[in-house]
Amino acid sequence: MSQNILRQAAEAQFAQEIEELKKHDKHTRPENWLLSPHAVVTYLMGGTLDNGFEISCKYIGNRRLMEIAVATLTTDRALLLYGLPGTAKSWVSEHISAAISGDSGLVIQGTAGTGEDSVRYGWNYAQLLSAGPVPEAIVETPVMRGMKEGKIVRVEELTRIGSDVQDSLITILSEKMLPIPELNTKVMAVRGFNIIATANNRDKGVNDLSSALKRRFNTVILPVPETIEEEVEIVQQRVASFSKSIDLPVEKPILEEINRIVTVFRELRNGVSSDGKTKLKSPSGTLSTAEAISVMNSGLSLAYHFGDASLRADDLASGLIGAIIKDPVQDKIVFQEYMETVLKQRDGWKDIYRACREII
């Protein structure tokens, strides 16, 4: 049955890696951790074990950031991963919790509608009406379960949650307990419990953390990839794993296409052409690596299902334009300028220029 699952959880997908790491882990493990902090960092950054087993690299970027993130979870502060959309925040948090707790499923997706009952606990109203406030009538949230079992809980998009609800995390984080006044009892957190929250610093109109809550978090800012090589590697890796999981055979070497897409994204993001000669306007979107990945993926699907399975500029153009033009008026002008000043002039890029021209 597991073959049919669209996307495996990290701990299932990399079960073997975690198992091997566990076997060869010589460092001390904090209580209720699956692996030692050292092994968790190895799991994230990749490496070769003593028996030659290859651990794949999950986060391509600065090792120190991962070290800070993991070290934070060994202290009693929670971890806040901060950064632009698409800088692998959720990806990192998923893998960290998979490596530490073997369970990346304790997630609260933060939205403007997330209420206190999905952070602390809810009630099964049928039970509540028939039996009154009894322990059985409580609906546990991921936070409560994480506290009881000593696991890492993930809160996605923390800043989207209303401030009043956010602040209900304060007691949980500082006193490591969750009072249930209705039952005159409380849930005490078991060792190993902690929270990884993610938040992006691009959206406007989000609920900034109160300073009391801020103080409970150590913040790690995940940057956009520093070099083009790094970014191409990320896209390539993710595209390869995508085509494997969707059974898309990749016929031709697509590295060159990846390079082109990443170059377009970087140029627009940085507001200057890669040779540093032309100044460009930046569109309103973030143009993250994640978006570059999805452009490649949709291009591949198009090529496979509607084309002759070889990736062409036409297949990429629609995805590219969709990713860049978020604001139909402003971004369109920006991209048209970019097409005329950069794409058109570049040798060997005529195909992509023409493909974009057709759509715009």
């Binding site: 902090p37 050292h38 960092v41 120190r64 070290e67 800070i68 993991v70 070290a71 934070t72 060994t74 202290t75 009693d76 502060r77 806040l80 901060y82 300073s211 801020k214 103080r215 150590n218 913040t219 790690v220 800012i221």
Partner: protein, 732 residues
């Protein structure tokens, strides 16, 4: 008899500790230190109670002070501690490096061999520790050394380990022909031999780790002697100068510096600190900079730093761990805030002090004396000094700073002062160690600042061959109050002016002189001689001016107009009737000459109107004549541009000019209008949007166009009542 080689890392606090422990154990009867023998005489000052590191031993060639080397020392420098140890225990000290007398006299050329191994060797030689760190898997050499040797509180074996690793490094690396290094090490060996011959029993040698293997086994004396034969020599002098923490990062006599002297200092003073104290300091700095940091933050940061060190397998957190913890816990992950920590703590603001009476060159002593008299501290910190030149003391300060500027010693930089009058000056003072070199460089010019500045200025002036070279000298010489030098400069200026046929240079020379003549009296300068020269330059300039305005291209015309504008302003400022008259006459000649460049003509028309030489009617006539359709369109455009250059405000506020332009525009028939529209556009394009909007607004209102002088009946009695209030407002 034994020789103990203590290989150190320059400025490493851990090395310092190890050296002190080793010295206490060895009980040497002589200490040999890597350093220039010329500095030995200055060593005794190190123990002076007023000596406050960081300081640097400065060695220089007296004839050419640009040839200079600094040997910086700070409280955690191993060499410094060894020196203090020697002085306090009355043990003889010697510097054993190659004498700088040879070092400065020879040009050291490295023979570059272009193949891979030698490139690697060069890289390793430059920073052997970085190479070892690379091998050990550290990306930062500082960090590796810190964890390996500085933090580890191990006893004496450290030196053996260092010696061994360096020996291994030197053996495996391909040999590189570096004569300078060979000679330096030969000198060190020679000194060791001498000490041995003199019968010292326990010799301690303190040198950079890299040199240890070369000193371990002494080769035959003959070989060394051959190396050291016939080296050229030059005269070298040395002195102590105060140093600063941010300069510790400098490359100097001890090679590359350290990037985090503040952290090392902390480490030296508090070897047992596991981050608590450091992070408390960090928190304090943040609070001083309006970043709220609670004690809980510190606690968490200490914990995170500890956890990070544990994760990386270090016994205790180093600077990197502490910084990362600070960013994650205190700065919300935002590294920008770390800048202030870097400046205040990691580098630190410490600056040294040297005792009074330390040997100095006379000029240096004179400057210090003056600084003391004026109560200005010679410190490497930014300081603002506000001077009121009407007060004698402030005037003297200003003169001193100006004189130093003449000598290229930019201790102070003048800020533009907002406010009325020329009697106010604002200076930003900041002394930095390179200035000491510049000071030494100027030492041959004289023993006092005044004397040196005078002679230096005279010399510079005598070397000038063009008028535009000497003009700035006049500007800088006057506030420096150097009458004899100024006379020389003036004479030279007169000479040059006579032989100059370039009108634009003459015109450039005029405004500064006018400024001096007008405001020079604040400084009590000799006005007559200036006036004389100014007048001659003025007449020389206007004699050739009309001719100079003909037959030039648009670009030149714009340049010339700028100059005319400046002279015009200067003349108005001078308020000397005879000059004004002649200037106006010159302008008129230019204006009426047919072949004057239209741009200049336009400007002159405007200037003449401004000085009321041209009435409204004649201005109007000139205007429409210049813009009549039969003219070359580009000429008309240039004329208009010249007339209206940066005159948008005039157009908005001056009714006459407005009327002239407006009437002319309205007098055009449709066809002509279409022809001149591009010209107008070109001129108006230079105005800012606000100005254009105002002009448009005005055009909308004043359809009538013609000037309507408004006469209002004023009741003198009532008007008088306003006067006291006005006076109060104006501050009379």
């Amino acid at each position: 008899m034994s020789v103990h080689l203590l290989g150190i890392r320059h400025h490493g606090p851990g090395s310092s500790r190890h050296v002190l422990n080793a010295l206490a154990e060895i009980q040497p009867d002589i200490i040999l230190i890597e350093g220039p023998p010329e500095g030995e005489a200055m060593l005794s000052w190190a123990a002076h109670k007023d000596m406050q590191p960081p300081v640097a031993l400065l060695a220089y060639v007296p004839d050419n002070p640009q040839q200079a080397v600094f040997y910086p020392f700070t409280i955690h420098s191993p060499e410094w501690n060894a020196i203090l140890y020697g002085l306090n225990n009355h043990i003889p000290l010697r510097f054993i490096d190659m004498p700088l007398a040879h070092g400065f006299a020879t040009e050291w050329k490295e023979t570059p061999l272009h193949n891979e191994t030698s490139e690697l060797a060069a890289h390793v030689r430059k920073n052997p520790i970085a190479y070892l760190a690379e091998i050990a898997g550290f990306d930062d050499p500082e960090e590796w050394w810190e964890h390996r040797f500085e933090i580890a509180q191990q006893p004496y074996e450290v030196f053996e380990a260092i010696a061994e690793s360096m020996a291994a490094l030197r053996q495996t690396l391909p040999q590189r022909a570096d004569r300078r290094e060979d000679i330096r090490e030969a000198f060190m060996r020679k000194s060791i031999r001498i000490a041995q011959k003199e019968g010292f029993e326990r010799i301690a040698v303190i040198c950079g780790a890299w040199h240890v293997p070369a000193l371990t086994q002494l080769p035959k004396q003959k070989e060394d002697d051959a190396l050291l034969k016939n080296l050229p020599k030059t005269k070298v002098e040395s002195t102590w100068i105060p140093w600063t923490n941010d300069r510790m990062a400098f490359e100097s006599g001890y090679g590359a510096g350290v990037e985090s002297p503040g952290w090392y200092m902390h480490h030296w003073q508090h070897p047992d600190d596991h981050g608590t104290l450091w992070l408390s300091h960090t928190a304090r700095v943040f609070r001083e900079n309006q970043v709220d940091i609670s004690s809980a933050h510190i606690i968490e940061a200490v914990r995170l730093a500890g956890a990070l060190a544990g994760l990386r397998g270090f016994p205790r957190p180093g600077l990197k761990e502490l910084n990362e913890a600070t960013v994650a816990v205190m700065c919300m992950g935002e590294p920008v805030l770390m800048k202030v920590i870097y400046r205040e703590l990691i580098v630190g603001k410490a600056f040294g002090q040297i005792p009074e009476g330390t040997p100095q060159v006379p000029l240096q002593r004179n400057l210090e004396l003056l600084a003391k008299r004026f109560r200005i501290k010679v410190v490497p910190e930014h300081k603002t000094l506000k001077l009121d030149l009407r007060e004698e003391n402030d005037l003297q300060k200003s003169i001193l700073l100006h004189r130093l500027q003449l000598l290229d010693i930019n201790w102070g930089t003048m800020e533009s002062v907002s406010g009325k009058g020329t009697f106010k000056e604002e200076w930003t003072l900041r002394w930095y160690p390179e200035l000491t070199i510049r000071l030494l460089e100027k030492a041959p010019w004289g023993n006092t600042v005044e004397e040196a500045a005078t002679k230096y200025l005279k010399n510079t002036a005598s070397k000038c061959t063009r008028l535009d070279e000497i003009t700035p000298l006049v500007q800088s010489a006057i506030p420096a109050d150097l009458p004899t030098a100024l006379n020389a400069v003036m004479q030279k200026m007169d000479e040059l002016a006579a032989s100059t046929s370039d009108i634009s240079m003459l015109m450039d020379a005029f405004p500064p002189l006018a400024q001096v003549s007008r405001y020079g009296n604040v400084r009590k300068t000799d006005r007559e001689s200036i006036d004389l020269i100014m007048t001659t330059i003025f007449y020389r300039a206007i004699a050739g001016l009309p001719a100079g305005c003909t037959g030039i291209d648009d670009e030149q015309a714009a340049v010339m107009t700028d100059k005319i504008k400046e002279v015009n302003q200067a003349i108005r400022m001078l308020e000397k009737p005879e000059l004004t008259e002649d200037w106006t006459a010159a302008l008129e000649t230019i204006f009426h000459a047919d072949r004057t460049a239209p741009f200049i003509q336009g400007y002159c028309c405007k200037a003449l109107y401004d000085s009321r030489q041209l009435g409204m009617d004649s201005t109007f006539n000139a205007f429409s004549k210049a813009l009549s359709p039969s003219n070359e369109p580009s000429a008309s455009a240039n004329w208009l541009e010249g007339f209206l250059t940066d005159a948008a405000t005039v157009l908005i506020l001056d009714d006459v000019i407005w009327a002239v332009v407006n009437d002319w525009l309205q007098s055009l028939d449709d066809e002509t209008f279409l022809q001149v529209v591009p010209l107008l556009r070109r001129t108006f394009a230079n105005f800012s949007n606000v100005e254009k909007r105002k002009i448009a607004g005005r055009a909308k209102q004043g359809k009538a166009g013609a000037l309507i002088p408004q006469t209002i009946d004023i009741d003198p009695q009532r008007a008088e009542k306003v006067l006291p209030v006005l006076e109060m407002l104006m501050g009379f």
